[in-house]
Symmetry: C2
Subunit: 441 residues, 2 copies
Amino acid sequence: MKQLDWNQLDESARRDALARPTQSRTDDLSGGVARIVAAVRERGDDALREFSAAYDGCTLDALEVTEAEFAAAEAALDPVLKAAIDEAAARIEHYHRATASKPVAVETAPGVRLERVVRPINRVGLYVPAGTAPLPSTALMLGVPARVAGCRSVVLCSPARADGNCDAAVLYAARVTGVHRVFKIGGAQAIAAMAYGTDSVPRCDKLFGPGNAWVTEAKLQVSVDANGASIDMPAGPSEVLVIADELANPVFVAADLLSQAEHGVDSQVILLTPSKAMIEKAASEVEKQCAELPRSEIAVKSLAQSRLILVDSLAQAVDVSNRYAPEHLIVQVQDPHALLDGIESAGAVFLGEWAPESLGDYCSGSNHVLPTYGHARSYSGVSVSSFQKQITVQDVSAAGLRAIGPCAATLAAAEQLEAHRRAVTLRLAALDARETTEASP
Amino acid sequence: MKQLDWNQLDESARRDALARPTQSRTDDLSGGVARIVAAVRERGDDALREFSAAYDGCTLDALEVTEAEFAAAEAALDPVLKAAIDEAAARIEHYHRATASKPVAVETAPGVRLERVVRPINRVGLYVPAGTAPLPSTALMLGVPARVAGCRSVVLCSPARADGNCDAAVLYAARVTGVHRVFKIGGAQAIAAMAYGTDSVPRCDKLFGPGNAWVTEAKLQVSVDANGASIDMPAGPSEVLVIADELANPVFVAADLLSQAEHGVDSQVILLTPSKAMIEKAASEVEKQCAELPRSEIAVKSLAQSRLILVDSLAQAVDVSNRYAPEHLIVQVQDPHALLDGIESAGAVFLGEWAPESLGDYCSGSNHVLPTYGHARSYSGVSVSSFQKQITVQDVSAAGLRAIGPCAATLAAAEQLEAHRRAVTLRLAALDARETTEASP
């Protein structure tokens, strides 16, 4: 890991210090994905079966997971793992229910009542990767808020193994969250199937979930097609930024850095600390712990693009962190709450030495689908709101129209939108006529 | 306007009946916009000045609106219009404050406290078109929620007229809402400038606002670039759907249909009613009122792609409306509230005969930047939340880690993420060691 002193860097070196690994949408990738999407739109299930054979190495007859397969998956699952999935689902539901949007009603003028109502997105599609390892936790993180939101059709796609089955833990997690239908489809073809629908796979209004470069590119492509589907957020490699003071435990700091580094070779981890000693200790602990990891080869590569940065104060650490806008921000300092007000951009924040990121990844109750690659500057993590729409309802009485109609008419006239103006003035005239009639003997 | 009977249509004819005018991203448009974006990224302000000369027909020295220009705009403005802008801004602020996200805190297990905090998006860019007419109301609809959200840098771009000035009402509205800086730039070049920054225009994290096909395409292009900016929502032509019963006033129904039809030749308006007589009356009123409009030429063209559809009941009207997912839904029936629960997808809903859409467009307090083109299936209109991020903060005590750590460790092991597991188990071991020490004599 590169060691840097923030206050010795000029602006360009600072930019380099916080630069993320380049994510380029190569023409090869875009073209390849566009061909897959086109094939799925043209040939539907046949194309899906061909891609499953080519990419997942499995021959599928039915694309949908059957009741018998769900039952077999549940029967095969370690009871300890089942209990952990149940436990995590319950806590995720607890937090997500608490943070769901509530309806609001307010009178903005006498007779003008505005109500904000909340409606589920009817048809949602969830993608759960199963590349280097299956991710039942992602099924929980997407399935639970979809259920809390009340989505009517919740579809989940996850690639099958070569034996034609999906991972048992993913299937069990999907069932626990109440996902309605699961399909054994992966990659860009799964995204295309959910965005446009096939004979087997129902069309979805919005797609959620992480994935590799092909999945990410497919999500982008369907999201910019007016006849495609919207998506949760742009994806990028996982990342963590740790702020530590001189009293932090370097064993914990190193463990947290490594828990992101093991994700993928393009993951990035950053330590910010005002303590020179902490940089030395964390570096040596990272080296020591990394050697013991089964995925140390991946971690070593991602550590190569990672940084241990000396800052002059915790306040400066917060500034640098805000500039980076990390997906995960771990604050291992004596008084972590004192820094919270200054934190502006992060996907999720973990306070204190007993809050490893892994808790949020799995079972504290918060969502682990978070904005990466600096998108935390403008995006939030997935929540129940991601599965809902908010609609403003305007309930206006005759008195309300009298109160605010003239203002609308003036603005419509200024914008040269005469029909907008008349929709108001015709009604005001009708009210006047009515009053005249009522007032006459 | 085409007249149709929903129950006489087969599925394919129903699809046609609700089809929107095609929005195709032609290669010409994409390529043209990509060249503009590239020019702005490469040559910054120089490129902006060239495009202003070429497209807006004006020679600009300074791109930013000066204090003197703001003062001159305010001095030149009709006091009645000024008052209307002030009045609308106050009501928009009232509603937007009431619907802003609140922080939430919840304990999901003993010692595991999750807090959802809300932070403004720091740097936002607003686009206010001034094509066929300037739109001060759009400056209000974007500027007010940006201020309520607490955004630190609020930039607004709007094209200059040939005389090198921006519209006075737009400038006044921008000032009323507290927009920090206004630039006299329009079109795709304005979007590029705000997404990437130039010497004059500050770079923004998220861009908002409607625009023509060039602006829309530019927003899409910068939104799929990881180094670009995020956007409020995909744009499309404006549209209204009116549900009317046999007792509705056809004069009001026609006025509401026309208030969308005058927007642009690609606008679409739809009437759903169980009353044959209403279809006849609305058609003849539309014809009569349309002839009186200054923009009747536009309205006639958009009416050509619009429909008057007979349904068998108000319940069926709601079903058809949900399928269409209109930007604006006006419900002119005797008991409009009875239909509200069934309404699933719409940008904004207007209940009863005294609630023309124009009120929501200008001054009831709700936002008029709404999802069009069926995007109401998965998008909400612009709100304060559009200018904010929600961050989950995890505050975990040693007891909390003990309570939920084993669940996280089990799930991490199932996902073969050993470093994730160890970030938990190392801490649990440290707690055990500490207790042993404390327990010894």
